[in-house]
């Protein structure tokens, strides 16, 4: 049996899926990146790999997320795509009629509007992370509610309190104030869910026309409180797909399949030995070649440089031997 591997390396979580050629999800892994994407990629891959037998092969690899270049270099990707496209592809394969996708991740939140299955318009949060998962994570920790139970706690609320969602810092002080006033915890939790939903619609939505069918995905979609808040504010039915937490990775796997089948191409996948045996490290240093002083990152495997990025003049990117050379531009052009 053949599989396509989809990898989504985000700021907070790293997701991996093995997808069959009919789009069925064979296995998924959801890990916390914990600031170490190199480790997350090798751990994630080894967990995913564990139950595969000899005749089950990976036919294609797609990567997405902010760590997509890194994952592409470490695994050997056939397609490297931004999160918007990956999420849109995953959702429209699952729900061909979908018009709106709300995706809330660790540091990014996105709104994707589709027409006839392709992205028509999109928006991402610009400078503030108030409406994202990191904020919820932090508040859950502060309130002593495990993040997994945060949403269910919110559902217990009968009358949510009003929390200002304009800014993460203001929201937090609002929550502390409400706590000290003696409001029940579940009402404060639900209040913060509604604040996040409102903030998302103001900050990311910015008056864009949200139409049904509407899909809610990303790590935060696990939070039933947020889902309820969106349903209440929008007055629409909000669908949460079964694998909502790994939709980016699913999209990447679909795109990999598309490229491999369409171009009748053999995968660039580097294989188990390369990924699991080697010791990967990333080194960053300031280049003193000119006044730009770019922070250049080098990805190494057992001391051998695989890729460079971060240099504006591309001196380092181009310094690798042409055979093994993979510049960011080339990786993206796949």
């Amino acid at each position: 049996m053949d599989f396509y591997l989809g990898v989504d390396i985000g700021s907070v979580s790293s997701n991996f899926v093995l997808m069959g050629s009919q789009g069925e999800i064979y296995k998924k892994v959801y890990l916390r990146t914990e600031g170490n994407p190199v480790r997350a990629i090798s751990t994630g891959y080894s967990i995913l790999k564990k139950d595969l037998t000899q005749n089950q092969q990976i036919k294609g690899v797609g990567t997405t997320g902010s760590g997509r270049l890194l994952a592409a270099v470490m695994l050997g990707a056939d397609v490297v795509k931004n999160e918007i496209t990956a999420h849109a592809v995953a959702a429209s394969n699952l729900y061909p009629e979908v018009r709106t996708i709300i995706e809330i991740g660790g540091q990014d939140s996105k709104l994707i509007l589709l027409k006839h299955g392709i992205v028509h318009d999109f928006a991402m949060n610009t400078v503030c992370a108030a409406g994202t998962g990191s904020f919820l994570d932090q508040q859950a920790a502060r309130l002593g509610v495990p993040i997994e139970q945060f949403g269910d706690k919110a559902l217990d609320s009968s009358g949510p309190v009003r929390i200002a969602g304009r800014c993460g810092v203001f929201a937090e002080s609002d929550m502390i104030h409400k706590q000290q006033m003696g409001y029940p915890l579940e009402d404060i939790v639900m209040g913060s869910c509604e604040a996040l939903a409102r903030n998302y619609l103001n900050n990311v939505g910015k008056g864009k026309k949200i139409e049904e069918p509407l899909v809610f995905q990303g790590g935060v979609a696990a939070n039933r409180g947020i889902r309820k808040a969106f349903e209440k504010i929008l007055g629409m039915q909000v669908m949460v797909p079964e694998h909502h937490d790994v939709m980016g990775a699913i999209g990447a796997a679909y795109l990999a399949g598309e490229v491999i089948v369409h171009n009748r191409q053999i995968t660039n996948f580097k294989g188990d030995d390369f990924v699991l045996q080697g010791k990967f490290s990333s080194v960053s240093r300031e280049c003193n070649g000119c006044a730009n002083m770019c922070e250049v990152v080098c990805i190494r495997r057992d001391g051998e440089a695989l890729a460079y990025w971060g240099d504006r003049c591309k001196k380092w990117e181009n310094s690798l031997q042409p055979s093994s050379r993979k510049t960011a531009g080339e990786i993206l052009a796949i």
Binding site: K81, T85, D108, V119, F122, M124, N318
Partner: protein, 366 residues
């Protein structure tokens, strides 16, 4: 006297030429770097917009190199830019630097007023010499603009992006080093033939209009070199503003060349009928103009908290729907990770490409 000035794209080429003709020594600030930004951020008010911070960084670095006179443009209207020079002077004075500051204000009536302002800087310079120097600098400015336009047009379709990038920097240096008008023109013609001959790919190429705040558009150091990034994603870029336009409209009140400014202002109707400071009205005007020319998309850029661009942004949505052109807005501030910018640009380009594909298919192109 050693003159310095703030960076704004490749403006320095023309300024250097101007003062060289006037036999005045210039010390241009080092190119905008991380250090420039760090210095600027450290000594500027936190809520000021990015251009001010970059200016302050430029000045500190140039004063460190021994400059003693700063030339800065003035301004007017609701945009904070009009107050930049004064604020910058105070900041630098507080830091203990000693220097003179000359603020060039747009003349209310005649162009000779500006020439006189400039003449005060130099010593024993006749008005005629002054005119000659301005003429040469203006010629270089136009040459640089032309070369930038070539770069924006040929980078997207080029097969080997690095070759175009290298040729572009080499070309700028050649224009910079040319010492008379005829030499500038000769070199520019040669460069253009060279860039035309760079092999092209046969992938789809998109046309995108870049609109927004002038400094962010002109200075690659503040926009993460967005033009190069887009070119590498196979995009041909047209900017709403070039340096000669800015100098002509801002410093010379449109007196030097006949510009299309009035046409653009007319285009902004009925969406934005009033001047809102900065280039807010121009942003809308160009958006409509680009849409009518059937561009594939628009990107609006500006520094975070830029008031005129915020006004324009809130109107762009309507322009986008009614004129049928996809728009994306990006604000820039001190922010070292370029991942978010790459993702947004890539996603926008991807969206336009997929749209184009679908349109071709529905028209029976395949």
């Amino acid at each position: 006297m050693k003159i310095t000035f703030p960076h704004m794209g490749n403006m320095q080429i023309a300024i250097k030429a101007l003062f060289k003709e006037l036999k005045i020594e210039t010390i241009p600030p080092p190119p905008v770097s991380q250090r420039t930004l760090e210095l600027g951020v450290k000594y500027s008010p936190e809520f000021a917009c990015l251009p001010l911070k970059v200016n302050v960084g430029n000045f500190i670095e140039a004063l460190e190199l021994g400059a003693d006179t700063i030339i800065m443009a003035g301004g007017w209207g609701p945009c904070r830019f009009g107050y930049y020079a004064q604020i910058e002077r105070d900041i630098l004075n507080d830091l203990g630097f000693t220097f003179d500051m000359v603020i060039l204000e747009a003349p209310e009536s005649r162009i000779t007023d500006l020439l006189n302002q400039l003449r005060l800087i130099g010593e024993k310079v006749s008005l005629w010499q002054m005119g000659k120097a301005v003429n040469f600098a203006w010629h270089k400015l136009k040459a640089v603009d032309y070369w930038e336009k070539c770069y924006e047009r040929y980078l997207g379709p080029a097969l080997d992006k690095q070759a175009v990038n290298d040729l572009y920097s080499r070309g700028l240096q050649q224009i910079d080093e040319a010492d008379c008008k005829r030499e500038v023109t000769r070199r520019l013609q040669k460069l253009e033939t060279e860039i035309e001959q760079i092999p092209r790919h046969n992938k789809p190429v998109l046309n995108i209009g870049l609109v927004g705040e002038v400094y962010t558009i002109l200075e690659p150091g503040t926009n993460y070199n967005i033009i190069r990034q887009l070119g590498e994603l196979n995009v041909i870029i047209s900017r709403s503003i070039y340096m000669s336009d800015w100098v002509n409209d801002h410093l010379l009140k449109g007196k030097l060349i006949k510009s299309n400014h009035q046409h653009i202002i007319n285009c902004a109707e009925p969406y934005l009928n009033h001047w809102v400071g900065g280039h807010g009205q121009e942003t809308i005007g160009y958006a409509v103009d680009f849409a009518r020319q059937k561009y594939d998309g628009l990107i609006q850029i500006g520094p975070l908290t830029c008031m005129p661009e915020i006004v324009a942004q809130s109107i762009l949505g309507k322009v986008s729907t009614e004129q049928g052109i996809p728009c994306m807005t990006m604000y820039f501030d001190e922010h070292s990770g370029s991942a978010g910018i790459n993702t947004r640009l890539e996603a926008f380009i991807d969206m336009l490409n997929r749209k184009q594909c679908q349109q071709l298919m529905s028209e029976g192109g395949f």
